[in-house]
Symmetry: C3
Subunit: 131 residues, 3 copies
């Protein structure tokens, strides 16, 4: 297992982690297998989406804020219920195929750590299942 | 594979299953690996979220009911379309790392079976991929 | 790894892929294990839901269109931001247990490729982790 350290810069943030994961794959010496990218937080998530146009991420931010408003009649006293809800909607892990030591993704796919209650320090865990 | 039996107590219910999964890990004698927690139902799901404050779950329930109202102009005659939709939004499985025989989760993470059409008897399957 | 080719017929489309995955399981000679069904696209997804009544899928389509309208004040110039957002809400992969060479699913479960920006040609990748 390889632990990545991340720093988010705003409440909602999409951090591309493909290149850090590629480095982890080399360190872990995975040749053919499937990675599990796991987020050990309850107000953050991980997703695969388009990496080419940052406008996609801006639209994702606004859509999620519309679906789960930050301010609503929430019971949770910490005030970050929206972040917990988004975390369960997006999910705590993704699977990523590895072939011949390289991430095997679709043309437009990038892996994003999804911050929903930043800015803060975060972690992502990279686990490899050999095939 | 280990089958867990569950009993949900209301239409939407969040059943913490971490301790039952810990028992399954001991029975399956998993030392280092990754679990797949799989829900074999189409109106239920599984998620990882905060286990400390039940208000988070109350907020999740209300947010999902707002996003996917129980009563709308649904076609499905059984009347539980909202539960099917929530099941696909949250997802049918999660991955959970195991290290030295223990669930390796973040500080605040608990695993929840998500009932969206209860109360009723349900199942969760615990599968282990050794590393 | 086995690559499935698919053809979606409309903007939002739910293609049942259980039987194609069963054929892949036979070709890959998986006896006991867990499949990862991976979608290499950023405007499509994969989910497990009810296969018996097509009305469930019609309700899913309408609910997602209500949650993420096709036309909104999106920044992404390609005009398909709603499809990207739905892709992250539903997810890029599912896990499916295999026992004695057969998909091991719940009674009502079918696996669906989820098209959110069709019609077009698509791919699904089937990867097997042996147990």
């Amino acid at each position: 297992m390889k632990r990545l350290s991340l720093l988010s810069r705003q409440r909602t943030d999409w951090l591309p982690i493909g290149s850090a994961i590629r480095a982890a794959v080399r360190e872990l010496k995975v040749r053919d297998g499937i990675l599990t990218i796991f987020v050990p937080h309850t107000t953050a998530a991980v997703t695969i989406n388009e990496g080419a146009d940052p406008d996609v991420l801006a639209d994702l931010t606004r859509a999620l804020d519309r679906i789960v408003p930050w301010n609503a009649d929430y019971a949770h006293a910490e005030g970050n219920s929206a972040a917990h809800i988004k975390a369960s909607l997006i999910g705590s892990s993704v699977r990523v195929p590895v072939r011949e030591g390289e991430l095997h993704l679709g043309t437009w796919q990038e892996i994003f750590f999804c911050e929903f209650d930043g800015p803060r320090e975060r972690e992502v865990w990279v686990l490899a299942d050999p095939l």
